[in-house]
Symmetry: D2
Subunit: 343 residues, 4 copies
C-alpha cells in the first residue's frame, strides 16, 4: 500500500526534484501536482526529463482542492504563498512538509524581520517542527507540520550544533561564507539568472543580512543551547547544483572538534565526517542526500569547517523526503541515496 502525496509548486527546481525522488520511492506515490502558473499543462511538457506516470499527469492550480486520498502534502511554494496552502492542507486532515520559509520561525516578529510581511497563520507556529532531521528526529516523528530547513541553514547548522552543544565555540564570532549553485535562486525568468550572466562569474549577494541569518541564529540557539551571532555572506556560483559552506570558527580545544563531529554523526546515514585535514567537494554529494563535513585546524583557537550538500536534495527535497519518511514511520533512508552521481 503506497501513501498518496501531493506536491504544490511542482514546476520549480525543488518541485522537480521532489517528483524525481518520490517517483523512485517505494512507499509514497505522487497523486496530485499543483503549480502556480502552469496549471492545465502536462507535467512532462513543463519539466524536462519527467517520464512515466508522473510525466503524464496534468498540473492542477496551486490552490486547487486536494484529492481526499492524499495523506501528505509537500509545499514548494514561495514564502507568503505557502502559508495558505499549508493551512488548507492541515484543515483537510493532511500532514504537511513545507519547504518554504513560512513555518521555520518560532515568532511572528522574527518572521516579519526576515521576510518583511505579516504572517497570516502564526498560531500554527507552536506545532510546526523545524525539520533539521539529525537534531529533530523525535519531534518530526509526531508532527503534523514540518518546516523543512533552508539550504544555507542546513549546511551551516549541521556542523555547528555539535560544537555549540560542547560549549567550545566563540559563539559571538561565527563567520559563515557560503557558495551556492544557481538552482538555489529558483526558476524565475530574470535577466540576472540568464546563462550568459551567471556563467564564468561569481558574486556575493544578500548583504548586509540575508534572510537565512535569522533562521540560522534561531536554530543554532535552539539546538545548540547558546545564543550566537553569525556573519553570513552567500555567493552564487556558475554551477547548477551544490552548496559549499565554509565556517571560519574560533574557540577552545580545537583539536577535539574533529572527534566531537565524528561522534555526533557516527550513526547518521546522511552525514559523513571526513578524516581530519581532508576537505569535501560538492561533486562528491551531488545527487545524494549526504552532507560531507571536513575540518582543518588553523591555529591554537582557530579552525575551518567546510560542509557540502546538494542544495536541491539535503538542502531541500531530499531532507523533505527524509522527514516525511519519519512522519509516516518508514525507514528514514527510504527512497534516498547516499551515493553521489559522479561525474
Amino acid at each position: 500500500m503506497t501513501i498518496p502525496v501531493a506536491i504544490l509548486g511542482a514546476t520549480g527546481y525543488t518541485g522537480a526534484e521532489l517528483i524525481r525522488l518520490l517517483d523512485n520511492h517505494p512507499d509514497f506515490e505522487v497523486a496530485h501536482l499543483g503549480a502556480h502558473s502552469q496549471a492545465g499543462k502536462l507535467t512532462a511538457d513543463v519539466l524536462p526529463g519527467c517520464a512515466g506516470a508522473t510525466g503524464s499527469m496534468t498540473l492542477a492550480a496551486a490552490d486547487a482542492v486536494l484529492p481526499d486520498e492524499v495523506e501528505l502534502v509537500f509545499t514548494a511554494l514561495p514564502h507568503g504563498a505557502a502559508a495558505n496552502s499549508v493551512k488548507q492542507a492541515l484543515d483537510g486532515g493532511k500532514k504537511v512538509v513545507d519547504l518554504s520559509a513560512d513555518f521555520r520561525h518560532q515568532s511572528a516578529t522574527t518572521y516579519k524581520a526576515a521576510y518583511g510581511i505579516n504572517h497570516p497563520y502564526a498560531d500554527l507556529f507552536p506545532e510546526a517542527v523545524y525539520g533539521l532531521t539529525e537534531f529533530a528526529r523525535h519531534k518530526v516523528a509526531g508532527a503534523r507540520l514540518v518546516a523543512n530547513p533552508g539550504c544555507y541553514p542546513t549546511s551551516t547548522l549541521l556542523p555547528l550544533v555539535p560544537l555549540l552543544k560542547a560549549g567550545l565555540l566563540e559563539a559571538g564570532n561565527i563567520i559563515v561564507d557560503s557558495k551556492s549553485g544557481t538552482s538555489g535562486a529558483g526558476r524565475s525568468a530574470k535577466t540576472d539568472l540568464l546563462y550568459c550572466e551567471i556563467n564564468e562569474s561569481v558574486k556575493a549577494y544578500g548583504l548586509p543580512r540575508h534572510r537565512h541569518v535569522w533562521e540560522m541564529e534561531e536554530w543554532a540557539e535552539a539546538f545548540g543551547g547558546e545564543s550566537t551571532q553569525i556573519r553570513f555572506v552567500p555567493h552564487i556560483l556558475p554551477m547548477t547544483r551544490g552548496m559549499l559552506t565554509t565556517l571560519h570558527l574560533s574557540g577552545d580545544s580545537v583539536n577535539s572538534w574533529h572527534d566531537i563531529l565524528n561522534t555526533a554523526f557516527a550513526s547518521e546515514p546522511f552525514v559523513q565526517v571526513l578524516p581530519e585535514g581532508k576537505l569535501p567537494s560538492t561533486a562528491a554529494v551531488k545527487g545524494s542526500n549526504r552532507c560531507d563535513i571536513g575540518i582543518a585546524v588553523l591555529g591554537e583557537q582557530q579552525a575551518v569547517i567546510v560542509s557540502c550538500i546538494d542544495n536541491l536534495i539535503k538542502g531541500a527535497a531530499g531532507q523533505a523526503v527524509q522527514n516525511a519518511n519519519i512522519m509516516f514511520g518508514l525507514d528514514e533512508t527510504s527512497g534516498l541515496s547516499a551515493h553521489a552521481i559522479w561525474p
Copy 2:
C-alpha cells in the same frame, strides 16, 4: 538472493557509473572491483561520492583472480586490455558484459581496421552478442558474452535501424553529426581534457574516420538489412554528460518516418519518440537510461532526426545493466530509471 558481480576498470567514469547503478540495484551486488592503476586503494578515496559498502571496498588489480562467487563481470577497460580479462572471466565460468570495443565486431579484419591491433581472441566473436538491447533482446537473453555498444553507435543506430528496415532511407548518404559531453573522452590526465581547455569551447575531432564508424556501419547493416555508408563527425562539448546526435537523412516517404519510429519503440521502456516537430535535449535524459528521439521533416525527401542519451548510461553503464538484467532473467528495467535528474 543477490547475484555477486565484478567490475573491472572501476575507477574510470564508466566504472563509477556502473558502481552507482549497481549499488541501487535490487538483484546485483558488487562483490569485486578491479582497477588498472589504483589497486590497493579504497574505492571511496578514488571515486568522489562513492559511499556505503562499496565505498569501503579495496580496489583489486585489474587482472587479479576473480572471487569464485562472482557470476557476472562488467569489463570497463580500454580496448585491447579488455579482451584478456573477458577471456579469463569466461574461462572461469562467469558471464561477461564487455563495455570496451573488443567484441563489438564480427570479423578480426574489421576490428583491426578500426583499432589498429590484432585481436587475441577472435575465436570468441561468434558467441559475442552485440547488445544494442532494443534490437538484440532475444540473443542477449542466452548470451555468455555481451558486447555493449559504443555511445555514438547507440545514439545513431536506435533511430536509424527502424528506417533502414522499412527500406526508406537513402542508405549511401547518411550523415551523422554527434555532440558529446567530455566524460566520453575518459579520465586520463591529458592536457587537452583539462577544464580550462574544454570549458567555453567546442571542436570536431576524429576525422576522417572515427573508430565508431565501422561499428555503426556493421550493425546498421546487420540490424537494418541494408549496407550503409555513414559520414560521421563527432564533436566534444563543454559539459560533462550527455550526447546529442543529429542525423541528416534523405529518403522516401519522409512523412511516414515519425510513425515508423513511433511504432518501432511504442513499447520500449527506455526509448521515447517525441511528437513530430519537437526536438529533444540532453538535459531531459541526463541521469536516465532513456534515448529521446525527435524528427523534423525538411523537404520532400529530407528529414532531420535528433537523438539524445546520457553517454554514461544508455551509452555505457545503463545499457550494460539493461543487458545484464536480461542475461539473468530479471526485469529489464531493474535498477534503471527513465526519469532524468533535472536540473
Copy 3:
C-alpha cells in the same frame, strides 16, 4: 580627429561588445548610446565591466534624436524595430551599419518569408550592402547602409562561397550543422535561457527552417554564382561565446578544396585556413575577429568543413566594426584583433 558614433540597442550582448570594441578603437568614439528599455540609466549600471568614459554615459531612448555630430550609427536592435531607426539615421545624413536582419535581403518577399512581417522601408533595399566583408569589400567602401550578416550565415558562407565559385560543390545537397554559444540567443529574461536550463545540456532548435536559411541561400547564390539548397540545423550549447559550423559537403575534386580555400583567403587578415586535416575550435577564436576553417576529406566526393567564429565578434560586432572601418577609409583591421583571448 575621432569619428563620433552612436550605438542603438546598446544594452544587449551585441551592443555591449560594440561598446567594448569601439572603446578600444583609435578612430571611432562612442558619442551616443540608445537602449530600448533602460533609458535614463548609467551604462556602467546596466553593462557589467563597462568602465571609463563610456561607462559614465547615460543611456538615451532607442528612438531619441541623434546628436548632430554623430556620423555613423550602429543599430543592434531587434529586427522590425531596427528598420525605423535605420531610416531615421539615414535621413539625418548619417551612415549606418545595421546588425539586425532588416536589410539583409534583396526582396520584401524573402524578408516576409523569413520574418513574417511586412518591411516598412523596402525601398532602401537596393542601396543596402550585405557586409560579408571578405566578399563585399568594394561595395562596403561606398555604402551609406551596410547590412551586417547574421552569425550563422557568416560562419557558413565564408568557407562555402569559394567552393561555389569554383563550381565544385553539389549545390543542391549542402548540409550545415551549427553549434552556437548561448549569447547568440540574446539577453531576454526567458525561462529557457536561464543558467540551470542551458548548463549541462545541448539541443537543436529552429526546425524545419530557421530564419537564417533564406539569408544563407540568397547570398550563397549572389556571391557564389550558383543556386543552392541548404539543410540547416542550429544547436545551442552550454557556453557563452563561440560558434562552430560543420558543413557536410559533396562535390568534385575534393582534394583540391583545401587549396581553393587557402588561395581564397591567403591575404585575409581575419580568415585562417588550417593545414589540411587539422580542425578548429571555438576557443582559438574567442575574443578575436577571426574565422578559422578546417577541412577533412572523407571520401572520393565527400568532405567536411568546419568553421569557427566568435559569434559576438566576427558574427556580429567585430564584422560591423570591420565594415565601418572600410566605410570610413580606415585600416580594415583597426580596433580589431586576430589574437584570441585564451584560456
Copy 4:
C-alpha cells in the same frame, strides 16, 4: 622604437596571457619565447588562438641564451625554476619581471617556510621590488627586478592595506575566503584538473596554510605598517578566469571604511571602489586589469569587503605589464584595458 622582450614559460596560461597583452602593446615587442617542455614547436601550435607574428615564432628552450637585443624578460616559470632564469637575465643586463614566487619574500627563511626549498639567489632579495603596483609605484620605477605578486595576495592586499594604514583593522583577526577560477591552478595534465572533475563542483584546498599566506602577511605589514594574522581559505571554482576574495573584517569606525578605500584609490586607473553596499562580480573584471572592490557594513565593528580580479590579468600578466610600463617610463596603462570582456 619598440622594446624587445622575452617571455620564459610562454606556454602556460599566464605565459599565453602575457603574449596576448604584449601583442597588443604599442611599445613592447615579443622577441623571444622560451618554454620548458615545448621547445622547437611553433607557438601557434601550442597556444590556441595565438595569431600573427608571435604565433609563427618557434619556442626556444626555457634556459636558452637570450638574444642580445632583449631588454626585458618576463619569467612565468614555476617557483624554484624561475630563480635561475632571473639570475641569468640580470647577469645579461636585462630587466626582469618575475611572475613566480621566487623573489616575493624578503628573507630566505620565509621563502623556505612557504616553499620548502632553499633559495639559490637570496642575495638578490634586497634589490627585488614587490610589484603590487598601487603601493610600490616609485620603487618599481627604478627597479631592475620586480617580483610580481600572487593572485590571492593581490586581491587581498589591495583593499586591506588602506585600512591597515588607517589603523582601524583588528589586525590579528583577518579572515580571507577566496574563490578562484581554475586557470589559477595552471596547465599541468593532472587528473584533478580535468574538465569532468572541476565542472559542477567547488572545493576548498590548501589548508591549513596555503603558500600565499606568508606573502600576504609579509606585505600587509610592509605596506600597512601593522603585523597581521590572516586566516586564509582558498577555493577552486568551475570557471576558467576570475577571482573573488571575501574579507571578513573587524575593527573600528567601520562606517568610514568606504571613504578610506574610495580616497585611497580615487586616482587609480585599475582599482574601482563601488558605491557602498554594492558588491562586485568577477564577470565585470574578466579580460580587464581592474580590481573591483565592494564593502558592506554588517555591524558596529564588522564589515565584509569583496574584491574581484581576473586572476590572469591583474592577478598575473596584466600587473606584470603594468609594472613593466613603469620600469620603462611608459604610460602605466599602456596596452592594458579597464574595460571587461562581457559576456
